[in-house]
Amino acid sequence: MHSVKRVRTTAEAQAAKKRKEASKIIEYNALVERVGGSRKNEEYSSTALQLTTTLLKMNPEFYTIWNYRREILLHIFQSLPPAEITARLDSELDFLFSRLREFPKCYWIWNHRRWCLNTSPAPDYARELKLVTMMLERDARNFHGWQYRRGIVACLESRDDEKMKWDRSEFEYTTAKINNDFSNFSAWHNRTKLIPRLVKEDPELDARELLKKEIYLITQAIYTDPDDQSVWLYHRWLVTSSDIVALSIAERTALLHQEITSISELLAVEPDSKWCLHSLAFYKNFLADLTGQEIDKSVGEYLEKLETIDPMRRKRYQDWRARISL
């Protein structure tokens, strides 16, 4: 149970609740028994399907009933032409949408939805993309939604003649999400998957220019909210990894110096910013490893200060300091 408030009620109120629930329990268990019996008797009729609809409306987590529902549908499909199968699955998707609105984190509903698409003779991926866009508007971090979305985009991409069309539009989508809210870790994450693909598949794309633009975007985000860890994680990826472009040591060194200067400026304004201190320590350490030069003495000072302002993670900073003997 998540985020359900604990309520203490009187014995009377409890008894009243139980009385009210008693008839519901009888009704629910009778339905469970009926559906179970119907499956045992290998009933695959529309009536049986309707029974599963009623039960799944009461309890979408009852995975066994989703299994039975698929058995019924497959049986019905045996005698239907493809167009009618598609139509039946479309109405199935409508039913699922109403369930998802109520239970957006229920694995089994998303799973059944994927099955519908995989089973349909003519799946409408564009419609699915619209739906999941709507779902992510309601909760921008729903990881079921993001995962479903990646699947849909991959399907659209593989069916389109224009190469990288969908990955490109997906990149724009994450930009819009980020501009809406810089701390959308899910959107930043998606960019770390999309950008390397775009760079690899699109010969027109200038990877160095793209990296520069990303640094500009993330710097804006950092200045907007320096306390948000999503942006710093993404910044670290841009500055230290070779996933976008394999920079030469000289280029990488220049980039590190540039970012160290930029963060130092921010630290001057926000002297107690944990993430500024952390990133400066991290990049200066990284720079020393890269160039083989000695670690800047300031790293020890940053770590010491971090121990004070971020005491929950004190031991990590101490281990770090011990490792570099500063």
Binding site: S3, V7, I25, W66, R114, K193, D228, W237, M312, R313
Partner: protein, 317 residues
């Protein structure tokens, strides 16, 4: 000051769970029954009260959920799935009743769920998807049954590695965002396979220790609310990576204890919320990992009392 750990009330709470047939929720949660028995039994065991639930009846119940193909369902009449198969085997393992099942049959069922192409594991033979959770579950079941060599471990490890992200974490499938629950299963699976060398230890431990928020609790992803169950998902991964001290244990302990129902027992996701047996176990297991409240030690890889896993072949700390 942190509230007191109400051990006796937690034991009573777990014992009371099977007596709630007059509540609709009892019936609506049948799909979690097998997990619930495992959560309750493990929590009791960690509190030194394994006998608080009737052993023989429990074993009979577990067996009544097994299907002809070896898999277990959540309850009698529910279809078999790897999630419940794990809980069933864990219960029998704790109870020292592994001779009650045909290990080869269960192992065969689990192996049949692996995709030979990419090494991934799906949740059932119906239509469930592939998920890194199921790789871990397959590893654990086969390790408990001493049948791991029957599985393509190398291929499964490759699959886990393909789910690794830029932040050192792991997602549900390749491309999916890092999530503390998925990180726990991936790290523990790699520990069982003795492939922790694939983990970017410092980077991942950093991400994990940043899950602790000012209230002392842990969240599962950046910028999300803390929740007692992450006391397990985050902490066990840190324990396997030997970085348990990278978070503030005292503050976490306080957060967990504040989520207790000190009147009727049980632990909730956070202070003031309704308790359930899932959060009760993961709160208690977290406290055990941190060494508080004089609890039995828990095994961070298997989420079982360390007493019962100590002789297992497959483990790497």
């Amino acid at each position: 000051m942190a509230p007191k750990f109400v051990r006796d009330k937690h034991i009573q709470y777990i014992q009371s769970l099977d007596k709630k047939q007059d509540e609709l929720e009892y019936w609506l949660s049948e799909h979690l029954r097998m997990n619930g028995v495992y959560w309750g039994l493990t929590a009791l065991d960690l509190m030194g009260a394994r006998d608080a639930l009737p052993r023989d009846k429990m074993i009979e119940y577990v067996k009544s959920c097994q299907h002809a193909n070896g898999g277990f369902g959540a309850n009698p009449g529910h279809d078999e799935h790897i999630l419940y198969t794990l809980s069933a085997i864990q219960i029998l393992f704790i109870q020292g009743a592994m001779d009650e099942v045909d290990a080869d049959l269960v192992a065969k069922y689990v192996c049949s769920l692996q995709n030979p192409q990419n090494g991934a594991v799906r949740g059932d033979l119906y239509a469930d998807s592939e998920d890194t959770r199921f790789v871990y579950i397959a590893f654990q079941i086969l390790a408990l049954l001493d049948r791991l060599p029957q599985f393509d471990v190398d291929k499964a490890v490759e699959y886990i590695d393909s789910c690794k992200n830029y932040d050192g974490g792991y997602g549900m499938v390749p491309g999916a965002e890092s999530h503390a629950g998925q990180i726990f299963v991936c790290v523990a699976a790699l520990a069982i396979a003795d492939r922790l060398d694939l983990v970017d230890r410092d980077l991942l431990s950093w991400w994990l220790c940043e899950r602790q928020v000012p209230s002392g609790g842990l969240n599962g992803r950046p910028e999300k609310l803390p929740d007692v169950c992450y006391s397990w998902w985050v902490l066990s991964a840190l324990a396997v990576l030997q970085r348990l001290d990278w978070i503030d244990g005292d503050r976490l302990r306080e957060f967990i204890l504040e989520a207790q129902d000190d009147e009727l027992g049980g632990i909730a996701d956070r202070k003031g919320d309704a308790v359930d047996v899932f959060h009760t176990l993961f709160g208690i297991a977290g406290l055990s990992l941190l060494g508080y409240e004089d609890l039995e030690p828990v095994d961070p890889i298997y989420c079982l009392p360390a007493r019962v896993t100590k002789d297992l072949k497959y483990r790497r700390r």
